[in-house]
């Protein structure tokens, strides 16, 4: 299986290439991609230089154009696609149907990957995108079990890529307006989720309170580290109980399912984390590279090290295991 690695900066890009990525994905410095965070992403010049760096080492570059085109501002996305093609991107990762249509028509030779944000979760949906836009690969939403993926793979006429490590969306990607409900800013439209601009921490007696858009997302006692208030990983009050209503503050780790995913017919494993530093990216990539080459018996030792990178967080195999539902 190919290893697809994130890069939020040119430095992280080079680290990922050097550490053994098969492909690196990144985005332009604007709302055309779903990690539109301050200080992240690539200018046209930086992308061109990074693509060249990758090509010289036989590593591909995928450019994420995976937000939905804002009505009236479509040209921003079309131009980004034109630029990425011109700069030599090996694939464009796209969620918006009209942007897929534009790329299929204007750049028929360009390899098109369907973003997880498109939320194609079954064979009919995937084959619709393959037949209509010539999509070559689809990134699966994190709503399927390994068994579901194995059943799906033979029925679709394209490659499948799955998330393997890093941040975990609890909700079906591309279909979540929780962030914009609380803040006015959403993954689909602005390329952000639970944005830092709307985060506030305040002390309340012994407790630290984390807020998003004025809503309390969590309260931490003196003995607990205060986590970032990602909306779907907050603690809430339901009926007579308090707890993590949607998901604990965990990150995704499907290392125990590597062989099952390969057997299921998965082409590529994706690491989340374009917002992560270059040291993190390099470490994750090189460890995963070793794990993929190792025997199942050798793997636990390699992966124990990797788990420590999840910022002291617990990890989950999420929807890949049926019991998660």
């Amino acid at each position: 299986m190919e290893l697809i690695c994130p890069a939020g900066t040119p430095a992280a890009f080079r680290e990922a290439v050097d550490a053994g990525a098969d492909a690196v994905y990144c985005g332009f410095r604007d709302e055309t991609n779903a990690r539109n965070f301050p200080g992240l992403n690539f200018t046209r010049e930086e992308l061109g230089a990074s693509i060249a760096y990758g090509k010289a080492r036989n590593v591909q570059t995928y450019v994420a154009l995976n937000t939905f085109m804002r009505a009236g501002a479509e040209q921003l996305w079309y131009t980004a696609a034109d630029n990425a093609v011109l700069l030599g991107a090996d694939a464009l990762i796209v969620a918006d149907l009209a942007l897929m249509a534009y790329i299929a028509e204007s750049h028929p030779q360009q390899r098109l990957h369907v973003s997880v944000q498109a939320s194609a979760s079954n064979a009919d949906a995937i084959n619709f995108l393959v037949q209509t836009f010539g999509a070559k690969r689809l990134v699966l939403p994190r709503v399927l079990t390994v068994g579901d993926i194995a059943a799906l793979a033979p029925k679709v006429a394209c490659e499948l890529e799955v998330f393997a490590f890093g941040g975990l969306c609890v909700m079906a990607e591309g279909r979540c307006s929780l962030s914009s409900y609380a803040t006015g800013l959403s993954p689909n439209m602005q390329g952000v989720c639970s944005p830092a601009s709307h985060v506030r921490y305040r002390e309340d007696g012994e407790e630290m309170v984390s807020e998003l858009g004025g809503y309390t997302i969590n309260r931490f006692g003196a003995d607990e580290p205060a986590g970032y208030p990602t909306l779907c990983k907050g603690r809430f009050h339901i009926a007579n109980d308090e707890g993590y209503a949607f998901e604990d503050p965990v990150s995704l780790d499907v290392m125990e399912h590597l062989d099952a995913l390969r057997d299921a017919g998965v082409t590529a494993l994706k690491i989340e984390g374009r917002q992560r530093g270059k040291a993190y990216v390099a470490e994750v990539v090189s460890r995963l590279r070793q794990a993929l080459a190792a025997t199942p018996e050798q793997r636990p030792a390699l992966l124990a090290h990797l788990r420590r990178l999840s910022e002291g967080q617990r990890t989950t195999a999420g929807a890949y295991e049926k019991k998660w539902r």
Partner: protein, 308 residues
Amino acid sequence: MAGRTLRITLGPVPYLWDGEAWRDFYFRIADCAWLDAVTLGEVVCSKRIHFTQPFIDAVANRLADAGKQVSLASMAMVTLEREAMLTRKLVEASPWPVEANDLSALGLLSGKPHLVGPFVNVYNGATARMLASRGATRICLGPELPLASVSEIIAASPGTDFEVFAFGRLPLAISARCAHARAKGNSKDNCQFVCQDDPDGLAVDTLDGQSFLTLNGVQTMSHTCQVLLAELPALQQAGVSHIRLSPQHCDMAQVAETFAHVRDLRIDASEGEARLRAIYPDVPLSNGFHYGTAGADWVPAAAEQVSA
């Protein structure tokens, strides 16, 4: 007023209601003169389908006999083979027009006249135009879109009807995991249909007691009820042809009447809002998405006129 009269539609019941209660709700809706079209069907969870399946033909026929345009909604998320089969069967055999709510239904409906529901991402005119060229006759836009986007989309796709979500708790997210079952100590696969205990959803409050969200099975909704009433003239100006009311556990016939009266200038929007607060009490209203702010916000009509 510009353009045609705004038509009022009723979206599918988002919650799990007892089958007979569901049927009786729609029989009353059939007698409500203010509704022009009704979309039926289970959108949220395939495990619920058997509750309403025995009644759906009778309900659809009763609504059609009463002069309503009837359509059947496909599910918002299709992952299991069983769900894929149900979607295929719906597209092949539905006696009523189908509303696509995921990309599989959208693909299968290609070339046939159909509707597009709010769970298909239509964020721009180019997407709307493409869907129209493939057979979409009416598109219900997702509630996240601000008026500026609604206007641009409609202007770019003439000849298509556009519907906007004007009343109801907002559908904000859907997951493979059932937070509703989890909140009651069950997993999705052994959920015991606990969502049926909450015919208007289960409240999610913050740890500081702020009302925030609502669980509805695998779907997460807003706690607030979106109401676009003072905004009707602006929506009509933008070319919106239909407004959608999403059933809540309240008197939806009265809700429809209130919208019709405001539309027809029989009462003003503030009187309409007061009536809605009485018909659906204890639930705060919101309209922030329309104005491009947080969806939970309530922007008073007067503030809108000042900023406009």
